[in-house]
């Protein structure tokens, strides 16, 4: 087993140095420190705490929060299978099983020689090219048995990742339909030049006229957010681009960052111009760390072109620069106040609001948090004017929307539509047939049944951050909902009682039904938990967690009912399984050594 090597102090010193010994960089420091040994041994945490003058308990608190940080030994090869419902539909369980068997290990455990550990992780944003996995943080898509065999061999030979076939790491954009944004071919700086020419107030007025609303989910008017931050006291102001994209089934921000990074960074700079901000962060989910080198390169180029840094485009007083912070496997960090906590190097726990980030955000300063797509869209507005932008889409939903389409269809990928497009039209375009249901907006979104396919994508009808997962007639909507409940339970930050305990209880009930021990009474309990989560949760994660269950119970109730074994009551646990240990200890297997969990003849 592992013998504890002495803490590599000089390497840690280098990392600390690189991050200026800033406690706000704690998460970044931990991510880098983990690369040394593949995990974070206790002495490493102690050393870092001392160097940063932080209580050790706080460092341990942060290290224990993020699922990509390990405070117990993990394999030199850490394999994480993406476990979105779309991965499940593409057979990820079987592939994970196969890899485990080939490498002689159990999921969630470390191999005895410390070589490899295999586990599942939440949606990695490769739903259009799954099943997917992360190996030491690097994404690999389009898994199949052949690839799994090869990977098993590479791991057995302990071949460093750099020597793995490069096509493994190739990720497609899969852009299938372009509209205003994806057709935009902008010379870097063009949007900025036009906004600067309008002056800060003029540019904000243009934004106002555009009616642009946030693409991250809540649909808040972007100009209102910007002007609140602009008018709030406190300096220097901060622009954050939310690239945490953790909502299962969403991957459009990945494509924007991969191919349209200039639009995103230019949008951030446009926001800075309007707000008077000088500091910018891109919060990039850990799953997308493969994009980091190319994004850093774009930033460097933009600095060289005078599009970032001091006196942007020679405009006196327009100073703004952008740093990239990585996440480390925590969906809740997409929530803007949790994201800010994470940026400050803390556990990603959502704050009490008010105060809102626009007045009191990063380090207490006015902070704008916007989605990747929202920011990219501002380039269109700067170039074409607010009115032109507002003229497209619907009354309350100006412009276009990127959809991340996955699941049962011929052509999964990215589709850009003007707002107002019907579900049926989208289904037709992507080649879906025999569609039973569509989950729009990801796990937190809404599950639409066939009779709703005439509804439209728009804030006033079916709002969405962009996920569009398709389930055909062969799929079991109970299993879809159950996988989302697993997701929320895994991602609950644990801060508030209803979500911390409620998601775990809900998962227990869904698993109970799945295991064939469900009763009508459980459906009543599920209803009750759904309501409590919705009402009492501290943030949007907890209040959205019951959505998939509420929707499917309403629209696909038979999927639940056919699993029930009693119309009344069934034990909360598997009685016969609870005797298994005693059977083993006594070597008994007579009828008296068993219990029927379902009591025959009761209902």
């Amino acid at each position: 087993m592992h013998t504890q090597a002495p803490t590599p102090c000089s390497a840690l010193d280098g990392i600390l140095q690189h991050h200026g010994h800033r406690p706000t960089e704690l998460l970044q420091i931990l991510i880098n420190a983990q690369q040394l040994e593949g995990w974070l041994p206790a002495p490493t945490l102690t050393y870092l705490a001392r160097a940063l003058h932080l209580p050790r308990a706080r460092v341990e608190g942060v290290a224990g929060f993020y699922s990509f940080l390990y405070t117990r030994p993990a394999g030199r090869f850490r394999v994480l299978f993406s476990d979105n419902i779309t991965d499940r539909m593409l057979g990820n369980a079987e592939l994970m099983d196969a890899l485990c068997r080939k490498l002689w290990i159990e999921p969630g455990k470390l191999s005895e020689d410390g070589l490899v550990s295999i586990d599942a992780t939440s949606c990695t944003g490769l739903c259009d090219q799954g099943p997917a996995m992360l190996v030491n943080g690097r994404a690999i898509g389009q898994l199949n048995h052949r690839r799994i065999n090869e990977i098993a061999e590479l791991i057995r030979q302990q071949r460093p990742l750099a020597q793995w076939p490069s096509e493994y790491f190739h990720i497609d954009d899969n852009i299938r339909r372009r509209d205003a944004l994806l057709n935009l071919d902008m010379k870097p700086g063009a949007a900025l030049a036009s906004a600067i020419a309008r002056g800060r107030a003029g540019w904000l007025a243009e934004m106002q006229a555009s009616n642009l609303r946030g693409r991250g989910g809540a649909g808040f008017a972007t100009a209102v957010k910007w002007s609140s931050a602009r008018n709030a006291p406190g300096e220097p102001k901060v622009i954050v681009c939310n690239a945490d994209e953790g909502e299962p089934g969403t991957f459009k921000d990945r494509v924007l960052l991969n191919t349209y990074a200039d639009l995103v960074f230019e949008g951030m700079t446009l926001a800075a111009w309007a707000v008077g901000a000088s500091e910018g962060f891109l919060y990039l989910r850990g799953e997308y760390s493969h994009l980091l080198p190319q994004l850093e390169a774009v930033l460097a180029r933009r600095r060289a072109e005078g599009l970032l840094g001091m006196r942007i485009l020679h405009e006196p007083g327009f100073d703004f620069d952008i740093r990239i912070h990585l996440g480390a496997g925590a969906y809740v960090c997409g929530e803007e106040s949790a994201l800010i906590e994470s940026l400050e190097g803390k556990r990603g726990t959502p704050r009490i609001r008010p105060p809102f980030p626009v007045t009191c955000g990063y380090l207490g300063r006015p902070t704008v948090v916007n989605n990747v797509e929202t920011l990219a869209k501002t380039c269109l507005i700067a170039l074409q004017g607010g009115e032109a932008f507002a003229a497209t889409g619907t009354a309350q939903s100006a412009g276009t929307k990127l959809l991340s389409i996955s699941g049962d269809c011929a052509a999964p990928g990215i589709y850009e539509y003007p707002f107002g497009v019907s579900i049926a039209r989208v289904l037709e375009d992507c080649g879906a047939s025999d569609t039973q249901a569509v989950q729009v907006g990801g796990a937190s979104g809404i599950c639409l049944a066939g009779y709703e396919f005439q509804r439209r994508i728009a804030y006033e009808d079916v709002p969405t951050a962009g996920a569009f997962m398709i389930f055909d007639g062969t799929r079991d909507l109970f299993e879809v909902a159950r996988s989302f409940v697993h997701f929320f339970t895994h991602e609950s930050c644990g801060f508030c009682t209803p979500c911390r305990v409620g998601t775990a209880l809900l998962k227990g009930f869904m698993d109970k039904l799945a295991d064939g021990h469900g009763a009508q009474a459980d459906l009543a309990d599920i209803d009750w938990l759904d309501r409590l989560l919705k009402n009492a949760s501290h943030c949007g994660l907890g209040s959205a967690a019951p959505n998939p269950v509420i929707d499917t119970l309403q629209k696909f109730r038979p999927a639940y009912e056919r699993r029930l074994v009693s119309l009344d009551f069934e034990p909360a646990f598997d009685l016969d399984a609870a005797l298994a240990e005693a059977r083993q200890l006594t070597a008994r297997d007579d009828p008296g050594a068993h219990l029927h969990t379902h009591e025959e003849g009761t209902s």
């Binding site: 206790a42 002495p43 945490l45 102690t46 209580p55 050790r56 308990a57 706080r58 341990e60 608190g61 942060v62 290290a63 224990g64 929060f65 699922s67 925590a330 556990r347 009490i352 008010p354 339970t489 895994h490 991602e491 609950s492 930050c493 644990g494 801060f495 508030c496 009682t497 209803p498 911390r500 305990v501 409620g502 998601t503 775990a504 209880l505 227990g508 309990d525 009750w528 409590l532 009402n535 009492a536 949760s537 501290h538 909360a572 646990f573």
Partner: protein, 235 residues
């Protein structure tokens, strides 16, 4: 004229910035709490203080009162939700009151009585959580932690020691102490710290003769948590 809102139909005056809970208690109306403490900023985690303000569920401890609001608190609906939250706190830990030193003076238990919680209703998690008896004066029984972070806040903000912190997440969240060994004895914790006296439940317990206070004289034996908390407000 000061501003006011309506709590279950009764006018409650408030000053700008005051939370619904503070204003209500000042005016002699009880809204329950577990993670809230008058000497600290609101935490907003336990959700026992949940009320409906202008039709929307909010945490009374963390929501500034607003002129003219109609707030529902002592209603079957809100009390039912509170009871369910208590049940959640009971099943996620290991609460065996008969063998708990805090019994009779425990806020969680007293709220169970207040809201007539007769069963914890849900499936018990029976988590495996340790007891830390390393410190000469104080025992930590993590089985009963409700994550109010009062010890975390008191130690960090008042004692200046940061002895406690939370790690893990979701249902696996747990309390740790500020030592590589994980033992309280290896921290600079002292029985005189505020953090040693602030736990509302039976986690942070002082060693010494067990069950020293006789039944009948414990904090909530004679008077309900409702009347005790309102009395505190007057003093």
């Amino acid at each position: 004229m000061s501003k006011q809102f309506l709590l279950d139909g009764q006018p409650v005056p408030f000053e700008d910035g005051q939370s619904i809970l503070e204003a209500a208690r000042k005016a002699g109306h009880y809204i329950p709490s577990l993670c809230w403490h008058k000497d600290f900023p609101a935490h907003g985690s336990c959700k026992l203080c949940i009320v409906k303000a202008a039709g929307r569920h909010v945490s009374a401890c963390a929501t500034p009162a607003k002129e003219g609001w109609e707030v529902e608190s002592n209603t079957p609906e809100m009390n039912g939700e509170r009871r369910a939250l208590l049940q959640m706190l009971f099943v996620e830990g290991n609460h065996f009151c008969p063998s708990c030193e805090k019994s009779g003076s425990c806020e969680l238990q007293a709220l169970g009585y207040e809201y007539e919680m007769l069963t914890s209703r849900f499936r018990h998690f029976y988590p495996d959580r340790p007891v830390d008896a390393s410190h000469p004066d104080v025992l930590l029984d993590f089985n009963r932690c409700i994550f109010c972070e009062l010890c975390v806040r008191a130690s960090r903000d008042v004692d200046g020691k940061s002895v406690f912190a939370l790690t893990g997440r979701g249902i696996n969240k747990h309390l740790v102490v500020n030592a590589e060994s994980g033992r309280l004895a290896d921290t600079d914790f002292s029985k005189d710290d505020l953090a040693a006296h602030i736990c509302p439940v039976g986690v942070i317990l002082h060693k010494g003769p067990g069950f020293a206070v006789p039944i009948g004289e414990r904090t909530y034996d004679a008077a309900s948590i409702r009347s005790q908390k309102l009395k505190e407000e007057e003093s």
